[in-house]
């Protein structure tokens, strides 16, 4: 319950708790980052504009990129085959700069559902989907997604039939994962662009399903 705050003595006029200001001194690593950045600029290795451009590029990544890949796979069987064989190459083929990321796409079908988690940290296909949601990084999601995944899915509103196989993928090392959701019924007439609008971030993590048309 988002507005069920218990600390009623410290609420802002809008009813939310005040967030603590982060005006403490720089940490050791923050100081080192500033020092190295300034040194690189001073020595002409990088310009401030290049650094800003890289930050902008990272901020521009969003689930819309993954949704475009999914929609293409729904409409182009040969592309779907390539995506399932080598996710990285398929994403690059669509023009997404995914760096050295090793992408594995796992397909939801009539009898299989896939769910992605990283129990050890917060591995996520950021190069394709942008930043992970906060809950993806919580100890609760990371532990429960492997311990009681069907209960977790129910909390996300996804009730799997008993005869459906759930495959949980723990990103423990060098791969990053994206779920290729099943194409919703009643979308035969839709273009790839319109299909992409049905593909949610959570449907590519496996905690959700695509929207109905």
């Amino acid at each position: 319950m988002p507005h069920d705050h218990h600390d009623h003595d410290h609420l802002s006029p809008s009813g939310h708790p005040f967030r603590k200001d982060n005006d403490s001194a720089l940490s050791y690593w923050q100081t080192m980052e500033v020092a190295i950045r300034e040194l690189m600029v001073e020595k002409g290795e990088l310009t401030l504009a290049q650094i800003q451009a890289q930050i902008d590029a990272m901020d521009d990544r969003s689930p819309a990129n993954g949704a475009a890949v999914v929609a293409r796979a729904w409409t182009d069987p040969e592309f779907k085959k390539r995506l399932l064989e080598n996710g990285s190459d398929a994403a690059r083929e669509m023009g997404f700069d995914i760096g050295p990321m090793h992408l594995v796409a796992v397909e939801n079908t009539a009898d299989t559902h896939n769910l992605i988690v990283c129990t050890l940290c917060s591995c996520y296909p950021r190069n394709l989907l942008g930043l992970p949601p906060d809950w993806y990084k919580t100890r609760e999601y990371r532990s429960r997604a492997v311990r009681e995944p069907r209960a977790v899915l129910r909390e996300f509103g996804v009730e799997l039939p008993a005869d459906m196989t759930l495959r949980v993928h723990d990103s423990t090392a060098d791969m990053r994962y994206i779920v290729l959701p099943a194409r919703p019924a009643g979308t035969d007439e839709l273009s790839a662009d319109d299909l992409a609008k049905l593909v949610t971030r959570d449907s590519m993590i496996g905690t959700g399903l695509p929207k109905a048309p």
Binding site: R147, P149, L166, D174, M175
Partner: protein, 92 residues
């Protein structure tokens, strides 16, 4: 040695300290090689910025009912990436 797809493998039950990529809940468990991912530099050494040899990385599939005896759906599976040096050669 390289394990082929479909081979049954057991994960070592050791508990070394440091940066480890094999989750505790899979140690000592047996699964099936789902795919061979190829050679990668061993992250357990990369993390300490020391020379890291390449090791073969596998995706290993475990049955939920094997990992968790009280699993709601024992036939569900869990896939994880496991480095070759975590596979118990004496058990395969």
């Amino acid at each position: 040695m390289t394990y082929t797809v479909g081979t049954s493998v057991r994960i070592k039950a050791m508990s070394p300290l440091g940066h480890i990529r094999t989750p505790h809940y899979l140690r000592g468990k047996t699964g099936i090689v789902e795919r061979v991912l190829g050679p990668f530099k061993n992250p357990e050494q990369l993390a300490y910025m020391v020379p890291a040899p390449t090791r073969t990385l596998y995706r290993v599939r475990f049955e939920m009912g094997h990992i968790w005896p009280d699993a709601e759906a024992p036939q569900d599976t869990l896939d994880a990436e496991i480095y070759e040096h975590w596979i118990d050669q004496d058990a395969t």
